[in-house]
């Protein structure tokens, strides 16, 4: 019997590629973020409303992750935004290598913001760095105010929380102050936006903040 002692991160290959992606993004002074959530929280709807609200004030591109279809990329492409679809064929998360391949289909100097929409899943994408600058986690009011406590790795790794479907609050038992308090127990530095894609509430505040962040990277 002999023991080989190594100390190697299991996801080191992913992390290395993610770092290469990050360097590339920084060279192009891009604002790159990764949107994560459970399925059906409204990630693609937020993207659509965000593009409408930005209204051409910034050039952007989108990478869409989906388990099975290219429906989301079709939705985004209607806005004349470059959109690359990654179909993971059952894979529950995006990996850095998939992003590296996807950005080869994009001209990184032709836009200033890249939005990566991850596969709908609040567990697995937390482990996989894609090279993004930050993660945005979307939580809809129908999912309940205790969700941040149930998925701490994801809420800890995100920088921004968007609480979506706030138009439904009158019909739900979701307590929004409990929800945000729970999220801040896991991650006190979370920046929180409250939105409704139905009414458009909160979308201007969120998209103006994005625009401001993207402009900071240009100077």
């Amino acid at each position: 019997m002999s023991i080989i002692t190594i100390e190697r991160k299991v996801l080191e290959k992913n992390d290395q590629i993610a770092q290469q992606n990050r360097v590339l993004f920084q060279q192009h002074r891009l604002l790159v973020f990764n949107i994560v959530s459970s399925p059906g929280s409204g990630k693609t709807s937020i993207l659509e409303r965000t593009i409408e609200s930005l209204d051409g004030r910034i050039t952007l591109a989108v990478i869409e992750g989906d388990i099975q279809t290219d429906l989301d990329a079709q939705r985004v492409a209607r806005y004349n935004v470059p959109a690359v679809q990654i179909v993971t064929r059952g894979g529950c998360h995006l990996e850095a290598g998939l992003i590296r391949d996807a950005i080869r289909q994009l001209d990184l100097s032709s836009f200033r913001m890249l939005i990566i929409e991850n596969v709908g899943n609040l567990v697995c994408p937390a482990n996989y760095d894609l090279g993004e600058e930050f993660k945005v986690v979307v939580l809809s009011t129908t999912e309940g105010d205790d969700k941040p406590l149930k998925y701490p790795p994801m809420f800890r790794s995100a920088s921004v929380l968007i609480v979506n479907k706030i138009d439904l609050l009158p019909y739900l038992d979701c307590d929004i102050s409990a929800l945000t308090a729970n999220a801040r127990r896991i991650n006190p530095s979370l920046r929180i936006f409250q939105t409704s894609c139905k009414t458009g509430a909160g979308i201007p505040a969120w998209s103006d903040w994005l625009l401001q962040e993207a402009n900071l990277r240009q100077t």
Partner: protein
């Protein structure tokens, strides 16, 4: 079910340290798994036995060392365990914490049985 791709990555790392022409067998692999790593150990063990089946690593056992979540307080410098549900310093109540353990997901040891090695 990202445990499947994690199991695959573990096998790739082990393969880099145990040469193809090695005649002995890999008995166990020690893995450090942090509380905040988001990995379900039981699921990982199942996936690992599935990905190693029929390979030269079939039968290798995953020895999991679970690492608890601890953080250093940026206000009072106390290092204390953190409950998964509240990132609060247990000494002063500050929420400005830096995680110092609990994110691990790494292969630390490979145990090989070389008694089957063919003498040349």
């Amino acid at each position: 079910m990202h445990e499947l791709s994690i199991a695959q990555s573990i096998m790739e790392i082990v393969a880099e340290h145990v040469p193809d022409d090695y005649q002995g067998s890999v008995k166990s692999i020690t893995l450090k798994v942090g509380e905040l790593s988001g990995v379900v150990v039981e699921s990982l063990e199942f996936c690992f036995s599935a990905v190693t089946a029929g390979t030269r690593f079939e039968g290798a056992v995953l020895e999991v060392e679970r690492i608890g979540l601890t953080a250093r307080c940026e206000q009072c410098a106390t290092v204390s365990p953190v409950s998964n549900n509240a990132f609060i310093c247990q000494a002063c109540g500050s929420t400005q914490l830096t995680i110092i353990s609990g994110r691990e997901l790494q292969v630390s040891e490979i145990e090989v049985a070389d008694n089957e090695r063919k003498e040349t």
